[in-house]
Symmetry: C2
């Protein structure tokens, strides 16, 4: 086993890659939520000036990439690869969003865990020496997701309280080569960075035979549990190693399940757990029921509100764990369950947590 | 720019990862084609004993993974990650195919370029020291693809001559850590390997405003051209550096376009070009029109017929270039074009080509 490899599913980087820029572009509803003031751009027009919802979602990716690029101070040519994904079949938001950027592209699919997968792979590719700078991004759009997975908006379907509301938003980070031990090179970059990526725990498919597409939190909770326990086991740590464990979009029901499962396993994460889906909306005032969801949920909350707290040193170490429910209308209508997956990324303050 | 990075989109490995095992599982029609005798398993039952086509495709992935594992002599626990993808929305063939394998999973989407993307990322992760062994796989199934992208099979739609036939098949490789310069470690493994992965050229989205979903070859030809020229430019080589340049599934029309484009750019690849989609069927006798397609096409041809020729030394160096047409019924029906992407992987005989 290589020296960067820990246990069955985790890696710790010898030269942790840096998140050198981050951008979040969200919709009006997200802008009106409790985290509204943290997002870079709030789009009042849910169509973003385009003709279809899918084009609007692509535009979210394009705008977030342009903004992240501008913040990074890098030229387009310096970004070697784009690791991107979305919820739509054939990743059309990513394909059409990335076409004008002309980055070599790795299309990624992990449902709402996509940002964790993109950052994990991107960080490995940077630390492995294959790129000096990459971009990782994930987007979702309420209307394109409803169209693909649920009912026509015009139908005005009633949503149960276990349902989540797909976030309209995109979060994009630039991941850059970190500073090698003792080296002066990249020292300035490290000081300006938002966070270091010190490790990754890659999730596996967990199928709990959950068949309620209006309760995705339950489908994902066991996948989150599986990856958290793998992380603890692989690294020989427990919940106290982290200032926060931040899941993607479990929502109220998924959160309760995860907390209970972990208590049974001897881990009390209640004081240090946050869920991006719960944070992004005021569920009562905004009528979002169990919380927000979609790849864009954890990605935009990461960029808007998590990374700044790592940059400032308010949090020293965070386990960022986007959670995905692999809902397909085809397999679902054929009577199959909704499997889940969760990908963990360990983020630390650039001010030196260890 | 790191020393492994070449030009804008390519990498050359200092310690090339090895393909230590490969398995191909295909359908009856593929077994009856010109390459039939090269495939490991030919499934007479297109349902593979399952109830739906999607489950049948998942079963292709499960069987190919089990076979590749058996051939590699490794235990399931020694495979650190599974890089897999398919054509179906939300990668259901991969998710359900991988669930019983319990590998940490990176879901990949690049349409029919998926095998190139999975192998490129997998090789980087291995060479970067993050895994000693990974699995890369891609599958497609004629009936699940027709159902998703075209017409119900029962409708008996007429297919134009430019259309391709989606391959029922899965190809799976095990990629293992290579031998470091001069080291004795892994020497035996290198002798037994099927090929070395010496480099990767990652494609970008190329949109030629092609809007005919029954002529995917035309949508992909320019993407193939773009990645081939990037590969030549990045590495300072030309077509003569390769014994074969093998595209994924351009078919007859796409091949003609690619050859013409390259001739205009001053490169004559006619004598060294193969296309997996053209090779896999006898288009006249098997009524497959322009050729085979689908992620499983290039993946199964790679495992069945390309890797053995590298292992024997008949070919010293091959540019393997799966090509993808990012067809989405949603964006297509909204009047959008079909963009293409092609991911290149440089394969060399393990007997030492350089």
């Amino acid at each position: 086993m290589g020296k960067k490899q820990k246990g069955k599913a985790s890696v710790l980087f010898e030269c942790p890659p840096l998140i050198t820029a981050a951008a979040s572009v969200v919709g009006k509803k997200e802008g009106e939520g409790p985290l509204g003031r943290y997002f870079d751009q709030i789009e009042a027009d849910s169509m973003l000036g385009k003709k279809t919802w899918e084009e609007a979602e692509s535009e979210l990716q394009t705008r977030a990439a342009r903004l992240a690029l501008a913040k990074s101070g890098l030229s387009r040519e310096e970004i070697r690869y784009y690791f991107g994904g979305d919820l739509l079949a054939q990743l059309i938001a990513t394909s059409f969003g990335a076409v004008n950027l002309e980055f070599p592209l790795f299309g990624i699919y992990g449902a709402c865990s996509t940002m964790g997968e993109a950052m994990g792979l991107g960080a490995m590719v940077v630390e492995g020496g294959f790129a000096d700078h990459i971009m990782a991004a994930a987007s979702s759009h309420f209307a394109s997701a409803e169209k693909q997975f649920r009912f026509p908006l015009e139908y005005g379907n009633q949503r149960p309280y276990s349902a989540t509301w797909t976030v309209t938003g995109c979060g994009t980070v630039v991941i850059s080569k970190g500073r090698e031990n003792g080296a002066q090179e990249n020292a300035g970059q490290e000081n300006r960075a938002m966070a270091k990526i010190t490790g990754v725990t890659t999730g596996k498919i967990v199928d709990m035979d959950q068949k309620d597409s209006m309760n995705m939190g339950a489908a994902m909770a066991m996948a989150a549990l599986d990856t958290i326990l793998a992380n603890f086991r692989d690294l020989g740590v427990d919940e106290t190693w982290y200032d926060r464990i931040i899941t993607g979009d479990l929502g109220q029901i998924g959160r309760r399940l995860l907390v209970d499962y972990l208590l049974q396993a001897g881990h009390d994460i209640r004081k240090r757990h946050l869920d991006c889906g719960i944070e992004i909306y005021d569920s009562e005032a905004q009528d979002t029921h169990a919380g927000g969801s979609g790849c864009g949920c954890s990605a935009s909350v990461l960029c808007g509100s998590i990374l700044p707290k790592l940059k400032s040193g308010e949090w020293k170490r965070v386990l960022f764990l986007p959670t995905g429910a692999l809902l397909s209308t085809v397999s679902f209508n054929e009577g199959k369950s909704i499997p889940g997956i969760a990908h963990g990324v360990i983020l630390e303050t650039p001010k030196g947590a260890r």
